[in-house]
Each structure stands twice: as structure tokens, then as C-alpha cells.
Subunit: 464 residues, 2 copies
């Protein structure tokens, strides 16, 4: 029932292509969903792909193209003429997909392809869509929609539906507009099916309608669709005129992309534009090394900080042994806190106005976690000292120093981790940048200072 | 156009409730979407909520209930009788939502509510849905759907649509079944609108139909809907019989939940079941401290590892200064690698079969990143030595030790970070557990051994 691309399957397909077995290919394609065909295309070279695509049905070719991996599509389209691209793919695509595909083409090819599109309206729709900024609702919307004037009746509604049925993949609603094309409501398909044809639209249309502006951020549009459980969302211009609609499948892609970007930022790297396997070596190095270098420079202040306490370390080498344990505990707690707050901010569970509530909560949580880890730290020193004489006669004071430092470092790490995303968001930056590695670096440097200060105070006259 | 819950708005509403201003409440509710009303309910106490809900239209009450926060809903329902819950909410809800709400109730209340449901079919649907395991497609589906026998014609199709129009929020497709109720295809609404009523279903229905089994994992169902850009997905039982359908809004929730869980696991904590603000203090401590303690115990091996090199540290205190810098570089690189691989595995960009390709790639990437950070590390030592005599006369050898150790530690960190998710996935565990903190802890301990071994080899006879 569901398609699975196995190596054996791909082998037999490639063989059929190499011997030019048309009948086999046609049979095969007939059974498959465009998404599955796209999966196959991802594994073919441009020559093979060219042989397969001519056997696709016109309506399917565009859908397959949209579902292909970006780099595969790029290579494939480079092997076709502008005329072929326009007539065999773009002509049968919805305007939003068409605009996306054309935007990926080299600049000089874009104009050529547009000039070969048969339907002048579609061409101008595409040109219009390409104007919108990449991160706005305008760039995500399709122009194809069914609308009806509020002064007409249901018969007109059905007429409009029939007129557009060929151009629109899925019709979920009929929008109602006034004489100025301003969006005023919608008619559900359910009503079209159940009400008499002479019913005036005015009497039965739903006036409460959720819409976004062309300039609305795509992530905001995604949140609106999620909140109101919408499958399709109308888009209006600044004057309220209906200009397009966004469908849920595009929004799901936005959500996935957004989550991946957040994850990558939170792991301390730049956002990768391509899937892991297809990203070139040097680009991967570039995306990863930038933040690594910044973190390295930040972290190198630990060497400076420890430099100030060289004498103490020389006198009590035992202090050095606990450095990684203490600073990493602060870092781990800070990572947890920053992840929690970044996510809560992203999902709208908290707002930056509630910063004081968050700080209060996280101070208590940090203190408690510090006490837990501090106690374990003290026990660790005590336990070892019972068996080996590694921490000397003053093991109780060493253990207490470790324990108290842990409380301070964990509390501080937790506080930094929770407050940093809020500060970044307040400053208009992306909170996800206050990643775990970033917080850890900050806490490492300050944690060392806390640790050695506690040690200096507690061990003076004993070990120091 | 879009609703925004301001403190002022909430104040005036609460005031209207306290003076029992019915007219105000009715006016207010008429204008709002159920999702917005739910947002208001989240801010009311049970007494206030009770006063507001009686003014809701019957059809809306159920929708509002579903959109409320889980803990608010729990408290609110606890203030109602079983009869009120059944008649005023459940009776107007779709079966999947109804089953979810009832499943949250205390066990003894569940039976009572079910016995008060008027429609016996709905009650048995709900009981049936409650049987499915929480993470399966069965638990996510609704029973309400429109189906038509393959031997009928379009007139029957329209008749079925009209019959069900009242019970189903949105109708996206009409499913076609054979005489045994087995799913064999679908008829799009577009066809219903554009084809003559006497057309036999058999002649025009779409036979290629994607479906999942009741036992399919919800995340797998989500992936299927994403891949095929579906708005609704039919669910069949083991015999292929059509039993329900999943809608995209439920799947979007699954995706969000899944991403949040992954993020929390990757930050080294247990998955929180509730939003950040509503999770109780001790539960938060419990969820966070578990992994922190495990990481702490793992990290405490750094103290053991450094214990072995106490003599070297005593002789050359300068070695201790670079410990945090070197181990954190390994940890940061490892975090990046594990995040990349965990995400690529989750999105299906790579499979564990490709482990050797990943290892080869990450060895080269790790080596390159190591060379970059190692060079900066050497330069750091050289630069400081030009101004202050902190690293002594042998600063070149100290710098070389730091540089070479960095190459080793970064390479090793990168390799651990990329291979650990693969090993976990191979063992049937969730790769997200190989979180950044987990990788960092592993790399900290081993990184110390690499560093001090390099130092012992390079500085013997010079500083050691």
C-alpha cells in the first residue's frame, strides 16, 4: 500500500531505463504517487531522469518536480531548455510552487522560462509572487482560489467552483468578497452541498474569518493556522483585498524547517541550508567552524581566569582535579534551563514580560539542583577519602569547598541559562542563539572564578 | 481581525462576570473563535468559567473544551457533574476529541459520563477509540467519516454527504468502500461538484489511496501525511476495513510535541508532560535532576582521570590552565555532530545503514575543525608569551602540546558525537538521548586522557 524505495527496485528501474523499456516505465509510473516518483528521481542521474520524465502525465510532472530534492531539481532543470521547463512543468503547476521553482533558476534563465509560459495570467501571477520577501506569508501563498461576490447566490458559487476545479488541487473553501474584492467571509463546501441554489450568499456565509497580511511572517502564519486548526488561510493585502491563500502542507514544511534551524542554532552552529548528506564539505566546515571559533575564543578566557589562581593550584594541586566536574555541572544545568526557556518562548508558553516569574522560579530550581549536586559532590570526596588518601588530611574542607562551589555554580548556570534567552529576545535577537554551548562557555569562565574564590576563602590557612 | 488577549480585556471580562452581566458575555462570545474563548478560559477560575460556559452555543462548547490547557480543563470538568459533561460537551464533539477528554477524567467518572451520552453509537465509538494505545494512529483518529459503496453512483455520494454534513466539522473527501467495508479509494469533493449525479462511482473514483493501520505509530502517520501532502488520512484495521480518519491539525500537534520532546531529551533532561509555566516545582526538579545526577557521576571520572596526572600537574601547573579550553572544544564539536546526526536521522535524511559514509565524512570534518582550533590554540599561547612570561621559556612546546591535543580531542569529540546516535538507534533506543551534555561528558573524560598523554610525550625532559 505504501511505497518503499528498495535498492532492488531501483536497480531494476535503472536497468529498464538503460535498455529503453518504455512500457515498463509507463506501467511503473501509473501506480506511483508524485512524492514517490520524486524519491526515485532523487536517485537517478540527469540522463536517466530525462528519459523517465517524458513518460509522466502532464499534470503529474509538476508535482514530481516540486517534491524532488532541491539540488537534484537544480541539476535536472539545468539539463532542459527554458521552453521545456515552461511547457512541460510550469504550465501545470500552482502559482506558489511555480514561483518557488523559477526563483531557484539562474537569473538569466528565469526571464526565458517566464516568456514561454502559455497562460499570461499565470505568468503575471508568478512574477507577482516572486516579489514577496522569502519569510512572509506572501511568498508562501498561491494565487489560485475560488471567490464569490457577497451579492450573488449559491448558484454563482457552484459556477465558480466548477470553473476553477481544474486549476486547483484541493478546494477547501469558497471565499466571499465585496464589490472592491475585499475579503468579508467564506462559504464552506458543506453549505454548497446542502443549501438550495437560489439561497443568497449574504444569508448563509460565515462572517468570522481569520486571515493574514502578505507581509505577515511565515512563522506567525504557521502559528495562526495551528491555533485555529485551519487547513487553508486566506491572505489579504494592506487594503484588505483578497490576494491568495496558504495551505497547511506548506505550513508543515515551515514548521519542520523552523525546528531544524532552532536545533542547529542551539547546537552552536550556523543554519545549514541543505540536507546533511548533500551539503558540500567546505560549506559544512564553514557553517560549523564559525561558532566553534567564537566559543573557543570565549572559552580561552578560562585559561586566563585560571592563570590568576596559578599559585593556589601550585599549592593545592587537588583543586585542579575538580575543575572539569564543577564547571560542567554549571554548563549542563544552564543548557537545560536555556533549552526550556527557548522552547517555551517559541511555543508562546511564556512571554518576556513574565521574566521576573521565570527568574524567581529558576532561582529556586537552581538552588535545589545545586544542593542535590553539591551533596553528591561532597559525598564523592568523602567516599574516596575513606579508601585512598588522595585528598589528604583536610578532605572534609576539600569536600565542603567542592560542595559549596557546586551550589554556587549550578545556581549561577541555571540563572544565566534561563535569563539569556529572554535578554536576547528583548534585544530583538533570536533566543535560540543562546545555545547550550554558548551558555556553557559563559558559565565555564564565571564558574572558575566562583570555584577558586570559594576555595581561597575556605582553604586559607589550611591548604593555601 | 485577530484576537489578542490583553490584561485590560481580561479585567473587563472578569468584572462583567462578577456583576453577572449576561448580555455582555453573550455579545463577547458571539464574536470569538473557540480557540480564543479557550484562551480566555485558561485565565479564569472554575467559578468564573462555569458562569461563562453556560452562555456558549452548544456546538461551540465542545470545541472550546478541546482547545483549553489540559490542567485548566481538568479543574474545570471537576467542577461539573457527569451529566453536565456528557450533555453539554461530549454530545457535540467529534469522537476523537471526546475520547481524549474522557480519557483524562478520573476512572470512576469515565463510566458515568459515558452512560449519560445520548447517542448510543457515539458512546460505543468513544469506548472503541479509548482502547487504542496512546502512540498509535488508532488513538489519533476520529470515527466520523463519509463513505460510499463502490457499486453506487454519484447521487448516493451526495446523499451521504448531506446526511453527515452536520456531524463532521470539515469534509475533505468521500471514501469508497467495497461490500465488506474495505477501503478501495476515494472521490474528491471536486468530482462531486463537477460530475453528473448518475455517474457510477466505479467509473470515476481514485484508486490510488494512501492509508495507515490503526496500529501505525503516530509519528509514522505524521510522516506519511507530510510526504504526500495530505489533509486527511484514512485509517484501516488489519483486514483493510475503513475504521476512521486522521486530520492534519492533530498531526501538527504531534509534530510539535515530538520536536519539543526531542529538544528536551537533547538538553539532557526527561520529557516534561506539561507547559513550562504549569509544571509543578518538584516535578521539574525530578525531571531535570535525574540526568544531571547521571551526568555528574559520569563527569566525576574527570577527577579520577586527572588524579592519575597529579604529578605532572604539580610539576607543570601551566598544564592545568588549558584543561577547560581543551575538553570544552571536544564537547562543543561533539554537540554539533550529534545534533546534526540526530536531526538527519529523525528527518530520514540518513539511515543507520549509511554509518560508514557518515563516519568517513565526520573523520575528515573533525580533522579539519581540529586543525583550525589547534592552530588558534597554538597562536593563543604564542601571542600571550610575546607579552607576558606566563608559559615560561618552553612556550613553543606548551603551545604545540595544546595545539596537537586540540586536534586529537576535537577529532575524537566529533567522531563520538556522530557515531553515538547511530549506535543508540541501532540498539533500538532513541538517538535523541545521545544529547549534547551526554556527548560532552564522554568527551571530557577521554579528552583529558588524550591531553595529558600528549603532554607527557611532548614535555618529557622539558617540563615533566
Amino acid at each position: 500500500m505504501q511505497f518503499k524505495l528498495t535498492p532492488e527496485y531501483l536497480d531494476s528501474l535503472k536497468k529498464a531505463v538503460s535498455v529503453r523499456n518504455d512500457a515498463y516505465i509507463v506501467d511503473l509510473l501509473k501506480e506511483l504517487h508524485p512524492s514517490d516518483i520524486a524519491e526515485i528521481f532523487n536517485e537517478l542521474d540527469s540522463e536517466e531522469a530525462k528519459f523517465v520524465y517524458v513518460h509522466l502525465e502532464e499534470e503529474e510532472a509538476g508535482k514530481v518536480l516540486v517534491e524532488m530534492d532541491e539540488d537534484v531539481r537544480e541539476r535536472f532543470l539545468a539539463s532542459l531548455t527554458s521552453k521545456e521547463i515552461a511547457e512541460q512543468f510550469i504550465d501545470n503547476m500552482e502559482s506558489d510552487d511555480a514561483a518557488d521553482v523559477i526563483a531557484e533558476l539562474p537569473h538569466d534563465v528565469q526571464g526565458e522560462v517566464l516568456s514561454h509560459i502559455e497562460d499570461a495570467d499565470q505568468a503575471s501571477d508568478i512574477v507577482d509572487l516572486m516579489k514577496y520577501d522569502e519569510n512572509t506569508a506572501g511568498s508562501l501563498m498561491a494565487k489560485e482560489l475560488v471567490k464569490v461576490n457577497v451579492n450573488k447566490n449559491m448558484l454563482e458559487c457552484v459556477r465558480q467552483l466548477r470553473n476553477h476545479a481544474d486549476h486547483i488541487q484541493d478546494i477547501f473553501a469558497i471565499y466571499v468578497v465585496d464589490d472592491n474584492d475585499k475579503l468579508v467571509g467564506l462559504v464552506t463546501l458543506k453549505k454548497v452541498l446542502t443549501r438550495p441554489l437560489r439561497t443568497p450568499i449574504r444569508d448563509i456565509f460565515t462572517q468570522e474569518i481569520i486571515s493574514v497580511r502578505t507581509g505577515t511572517d511565515v512563522e506567525e502564519a504557521a502559528r495562526v493556522m495551528e491555533k485555529y486548526d485551519l487547513v487553508v488561510l486566506p491572505v489579504v493585502d494592506v487594503t484588505g483585498k483578497l490576494v491568495g491563500r496558504i495551505t497547511i502542507d506548506d505550513v508543515v514544511d515551515v514548521i519542520r524547517k523552523e525546528e531544524t534551524e532552532d536545533l542547529q542554532k542551539m547546537a552552536g552552529m550556523e543554519v545549514l541550508e541543505e540536507p546533511y548528506m548533500s551539503i558540500p564539505f567546505w560549506q559544512l566546515i564553514k557553517k560549523r567552524s564559525g561558532w566553534l571559533i567564537i566559543l573557543f575564543i570565549g572559552e580561552s578566557f578560562t585559561a586566563t581566569a585560571m592563570g590568576f589562581f596559578q599559585d593556589q593550584i601550585a599549592k593545592a594541586v587537588v583543586l585542579a582535579l575538580f575543575v572539569p566536574l564543577i564547571i560542567s555541572s554549571g554548563g549542563n544545568t544552564g543548557s537545560q534551563a536555556s533549552t526550556l526557556i527557548i522552547r517555551a518562548l517559541a511555543l508562546g508558553e511564556v512571554t518576556i514580560k513574565e521574566w521576573w516569574k521565570i527568574v524567581k522560579k529558576e532561582m529556586l530550581v537552581g538552588l535545589m539542583l545545586g544542593i542535590i549536586l553539591g551533596s553528591i559532590g561532597f559525598l564523592r570526596v568523602a567516599l574516596w577519602s575513606a579508601f585512598v588518601d588522595i585528598y589528604g588530611q583536610h578532605w572534609i574542607m576539600v569536600g565542603a569547598t567542592v560542595g559549596i562551589s557546586l551550589i554556587g555554580v549550578v545556581l549561577w548556570g541555571n540563572l544565566s541559562g534561563s535569563i539569556l534567552p529572554i535578554i536576547l529576545k528583548r534585544a530583538g535577537l533570536d533566543p535560540a542563539v543562546s545555545s547550550a554551548p554558548f551558555v556553557a562557555t559563559l558559565v565555564d569562565v564565571t564558574g572558575l572564578v566562583i570555584y577558586f574564590t570559594v576555595a581561597t576563602l575556605m582553604l586559607r590557612g589550611i591548604l593555601l
